[in-house]
């Protein structure tokens, strides 16, 4: 009896919550927007260096949000990697004897790498950009991992740390450099916006892919002996 009462209370509470949220949405939708953001954006788009408005917003007008976002990703990557407990990346458990997966890998991984490169390049004037490219790159890494291909750059070491830190560091360097040069923090200098944005997007793609792949790899916990703190597994 108490249980049924508990469930009913919870249902009522969630319905009330959703009701209030819906009411708020309805009220907001009745009033016109105080600022015409799409209009503002259309006026300033040429000054941003890219032609696609979403990329311009992400990497120029609101690049601070993207900087903090890649920072959050690096923190999540560090937290996940610190809990990884795999003996070795050539664990026989991970190898697959599925011939279909092997065949798929041979065809799909190069295609996915090409697709990631295209998405990164296309982000400047059509839908695409660093996040999508990073996700496809991470997905190709996951596919290789599922097929048991040893990926040396995922061992704890210099390459892994470099890959994780690269995106955030380069972005922060560009931001601080423009602050030191006398302009505002994160303001790209005149005429350099497009190459800077492309460079930042490239390292962002790489970093995002590394973080997501490292988090995927550190998820399984083997029956292996736990190495002590600081000892190489």
């Amino acid at each position: 009896m108490i249980r049924v009462l508990g469930v009913v209370t919870m249902v009522v509470a969630c319905v009330v919550f959703a009701g209030f949220l819906g009411l708020a949405v309805w009220q907001i939708s009745g009033a016109p927007a105080p600022v015409n953001l799409p209009g503002l954006l259309a006026e300033n788009l040429e000054a941003s260096g890219v032609e696609h408005p979403v990329t311009a917003v992400l990497l120029n007008f609101r690049s601070y949000d993207t900087l903090l976002e890649i920072g959050v990703l690096v923190i999540a990557g560090i937290a996940g990697i610190s809990m990884a407990r795999t003996t070795s990346l050539e664990d026989p458990d991970l190898r697959t004897s599925d011939s279909l997966l092997y065949a798929l890998q041979r065809w799909f991984v190069p295609l996915m790498l090409l697709l990631a490169g295209y998405l990164l390049w296309a982000g400047s004037d059509r839908p695409g950009g660093a996040f999508q490219a990073g996700a496809v790159l991470a997905a190709s890494g996951v596919m290789m991992r599922l097929g048991g291909i040893p990926m040396d750059f995922l061992r704890p070491g210099m390459l892994l740390r470099l890959g994780l830190a690269l995106g955030f560091t380069v972005f922060l360097l560009v931001a601080v450099a423009s602050a030191l040069a006398g302009e505002a923090f994160l303001a790209y200098p005149e005429g350099f916006a497009k190459p800077l944005i492309l460079a930042i997007e490239t390292v962002l793609t790489f970093s995002i892919a590394m973080v997501l792949l490292a988090l995927f790899v550190s998820a399984p916990v083997n029956r292996a002996q736990e190495p002590e703190e600081g000892e190489r597994g």
Partner: protein
Amino acid sequence: MIEWLLDGLLVLALLITAVAVLASRNLFRAVVMFIAFGLLMALAWVRLQAPDIALAEAAIGAGLSGVLLLDAARHLGYNRGGPPK
């Protein structure tokens, strides 16, 4: 009129898949419904004229997230987490 029909059906499918994620007895089925939910969300983003988000949702929500959760569900055991009693 056709737009309302299309969007209404998509919204209905989204809500039904969401309820199915939470109400499945089998954890494997719940994760598979979550992947389906991700793909339907990608369609919703296309309808909302946001192709960038649709690309990201298809790659991340249905692809990466799906593999991660399927792997976890297998190791945690498919039948130990039932829906609320």
